[in-house]
């Protein structure tokens, strides 16, 4: 085909005619990219995340009477009532696919911000890509402490990282010890990607600082077909506290294998992940009475803050599940991001970044047990207080810290 002058003119005219439409579209809609594992071993995480983000977008885009940024009124008032539109990308838990998908979201889908990614290993590449394109990135549910220490300007994490989580876990152990419980030896059991390794490194350091003896430090390959050799070593060590950092699949296999090899740990204190997931308790909940996991969310908060219960109901209607450690953090991440875009009054990456950096939201205006949302110069919110939850009678009960606890911890577990 040859392009005549007439074609060019026609094309130009058409483009001109469409221009105002395009400009209008830009202000009536704010596009935010979400990248999650939607296929592969952790696909369910992505599906649940999608429901959490839909719930948050619903609250932002429609009028709700919640004391939450952007809940009242429709859309973003700072951008003339523009609505949030979410675009999802599947990174399959693979850091390289994460990089490619982030690039596609930015260049093809024209998103003005990205939120993700569940696996910390993927957050590394996604956040680097965002930095290069000057697009703000919120780590909704990545807990690896090394993430915010890379000097990235466009990286933000409203929720706690594993050092904060682990510190809370050791504070709890210290308190138990003071009450006269025998808590001296620990066994670490962690998977071999950045999440498990960072978590174990932090725990090793804390254990050394606070005088606990680590009698086993077992790093295993994730999605292993069998964990019997690993469990056997845990059994031989028979520590006072077993501390797993595992995703759902390995968590289920760990608990099943422990039962098969006749190992009943005295207590389990888990670094969430798989141990926050309903699927794990559906599978092996009967063997986990009294397990304690760290978390960033507690449904017990609904008693003090009724909106938490209402938002949980909205989420449950979509997903059939209660909000958990992951989905609550995902929900908050979108609220924090949308609030910053609203204050920036722009979809420009740098302006949103500056607005994010200036965020100061009191804890009462979140669904979390946090003091507030305020980022330090590395993009980490240090006022996000973690909680510890104990699985008792098929439900999670907050047992620590003291100001959030609703019950005494049962120790050792049954």
């Amino acid at each position: 085909m040859t392009i005549s002058r007439r074609d060019v003119l026609l094309g130009a005219a058409a483009t001109a005619a469409l221009m105002p439409l395009a400009a209008r579209a830009q202000t009536s809609e704010v596009v935010i990219g979400l990248t999650y594992p939607m296929s592969g071993a952790n696909a369910q995480i992505g599906v649940d995340a999608q429901r959490a983000y839909e719930t948050a977008a619903d609250i932002i885009n429609k009028n709700y009477d919640f004391d939450l940024p952007l809940a009242k009124g429709e859309g973003l008032p700072g951008l003339g009532g523009a609505k949030i539109r979410l675009v999802y990308a599947d990174h399959q838990g693979d850091p390289q696919k994460g990089r490619a998908e982030a690039e596609r979201l930015i260049t093809q889908e024209k998103v003005c911000a990205i939120i993700g990614t569940y696996q910390s290993a993927v957050a590394v590449t996604v956040s680097q890509t965002c930095e290069r394109y000057q697009i703000p990135f919120i780590s909704a549910d990545n807990s690896s402490p090394s993430l915010h220490r890379r000097g990235l300007k466009y990286y933000f994490r409203p929720s706690p990282h594993d050092e904060m989580f682990s510190a809370a876990m050791f504070d709890f152990l210290d308190a138990l010890k003071k009450k006269g419980n025998k808590v001296e030896t620990l066994a670490l059991f962690h998977e071999d990607t950045i999440f498990g390794t960072d978590s174990a490194n932090t725990q090793l350091k804390l254990a050394a600082d606070r005088g606990y003896k680590v009698v086993a430090d077992i790093k295993y390959r994730n999605n292993s077909p069998s964990l019997s050799a690993e469990v056997q070593q845990l059994k031989a060590a028979n520590a006072d506290v077993l501390m797993p950092s595992s995703y759902t699949t390995d968590g289920i296999l760990l608990v099943k294998t422990m039962a098969e090899l006749g190992y009943k740990p005295k207590a389990i204190l888990a670094q969430a992940a798989g141990f926050s997931e309903k699927a794990l308790y559906d599978a092996v909940g009967d063997k986990l009475e009294g397990v304690i996991t760290r978390g960033s969310f507690s449904l017990d908060l609904a008693a003090k803050r009724p909106m938490v219960g209402k938002i949980n109901d909205m989420f449950k209607e979509k997903s059939g599940k209660d909000l958990n450690d992951n989905t609550s953090r995902e929900f908050m991440a979108l609220i924090v991001m949308a609030d910053a875009i609203n204050r920036a009054k722009s979809t420009d990456g740098e302006k949103i970044r500056d607005a994010l950096a200036a965020t100061d939201t009191p804890g009462e205006q979140t669904i979390m047990p946090w003091k507030r949302v305020k980022f330090d110069d590395m993009g980490q919110n240090n006022d996000a207080d973690p909680v510890l939850l104990q699985y008792v009678g098929g439900k999670f009960v907050t047992v620590s810290p003291a100001q959030a606890a609703v019950a005494e911890a049962i120790w050792p577990m049954k």
């Binding site: 369910q44 390959r221 292993s224 050799a229 070593q233 031989a236 098969e260 699927a279 599978a283």
Partner: protein
């Protein structure tokens, strides 16, 4: 912490797991031996079998042990259908036949995984209560989980049955003959397609049996086949492509090597042992331990 007890326990766990690896892998070896086609959807066959056990349990409360023959039968039909509807046509390719077969079964794997994710959701399922689930036999401090113990017995029985079938029945001999020379068997009136369809059915039924037993003690989700398929490929390559006995021996070797490696190296490196042994075999005896090519 290397005590006699931990060593014996490791070897016992490794042996039980190895027999199961053998049962998973034998279908792959059988199909390859019969017609030189590698089924890249083998792990997905396993996944379907596990889901089948799960649904039979969830909807009809049939214990996985009881439903195992049903699952194997269903997989037999499925395997034969896959041959008749897909592989048969892939084998007709005039150019690059090997590639076409790889892409066909690989494509099938992706489709099956996608459909499973769509229809069954990617959520992790498991069978919480069953006759064997969570039960364990303890002999002098050595724990033998009942599901794996029964799995190992089923595996030995299946291999014995397979041996008798191939060597003692007419159809088994036809299977062997077709494998030796498909052209010649056509001359004596054996329908090649029927034999191949039967071979696929049998291979799928065996992995179906493995899946039914694994459903008792493993979690179930659309990608569950991937890590087992990888082990199955190594098992078959180690034992010798096409050799049914090789798959049996290969499975046991893989299981034991994995368990022993975990004793001396950090557990995250336990597959290193398997691949090291595999490399060694490839260097010394490229057709595998019991391969006859």
């Amino acid at each position: 912490m290397l005590t006699v007890e931990t060593i014996v326990q490791s070897l016992a766990s490794g042996l039980l797991m190895g027999l199961l690896y053998g049962l998973i892998a034998v279908g792959l070896a059988l199909i390859f031996g019969l017609m030189d086609v590698t089924n890249f959807a083998h792990g997905e066959f396993l996944m379907i079998a596990m889901y089948l056990s799960f649904f039979l349990f969830a909807f009809f409360a049939i214990d996985p042990l009881l439903s195992a023959p049903l699952v194997a039968a269903a997989l037999f039909v499925f395997g034969a259908v896959v041959y008749l509807l897909l592989v048969r046509f892939a084998m007709r390719a005039k150019a690059n036949a090997g590639m076409v077969q790889i892409f066909t079964t690989f494509g099938l794997a992706i489709v099956m995984r996608g459909l499973a994710q769509y229809f069954f959701t990617p959520d992790y399922r498991s069978i919480p209560q069953s006759w064997l689930g969570g039960k364990t036999v303890s002999i002098g401090g050595i724990f033998l989980p009942e599901p794996q113990l029964v799995g190992a017995l089923v595996s030995i029985a299946a291999f014995a049955g397979l041996y008798l079938f191939i060597h003692r029945t007419d159809f088994g001999r036809a299977l062997e003959a077709t494998r030796e020379d498909p052209g010649a068997v056509a001359l004596v009136g054996i329908d090649k397609n029927r034999v191949f369809a039967f071979g696929w059915g049998l291979g799928a039924a065996l992995v179906g049996l493995a899946g039914a037993i694994m459903a008792v003690f493993f979690y179930i989700y659309p990608d569950v086949g991937a890590s087992f398929a990888l082990i199955a490929y190594v098992t078959v390559a180690l034992g010798g492509f096409g050799s049914v006995f090789g798959a049996f021996a290969g499975g046991i070797i893989v299981g034991l090597v994995e368990a022993v490696t975990a004793l001396v190296l950090p557990p995250s490196l336990k597959s290193v042992g398997i691949y090291a042994v595999y490399l060694l075999v490839v260097f010394i005896r490229p057709r595998g331990l019991f391969g006859s090519m």
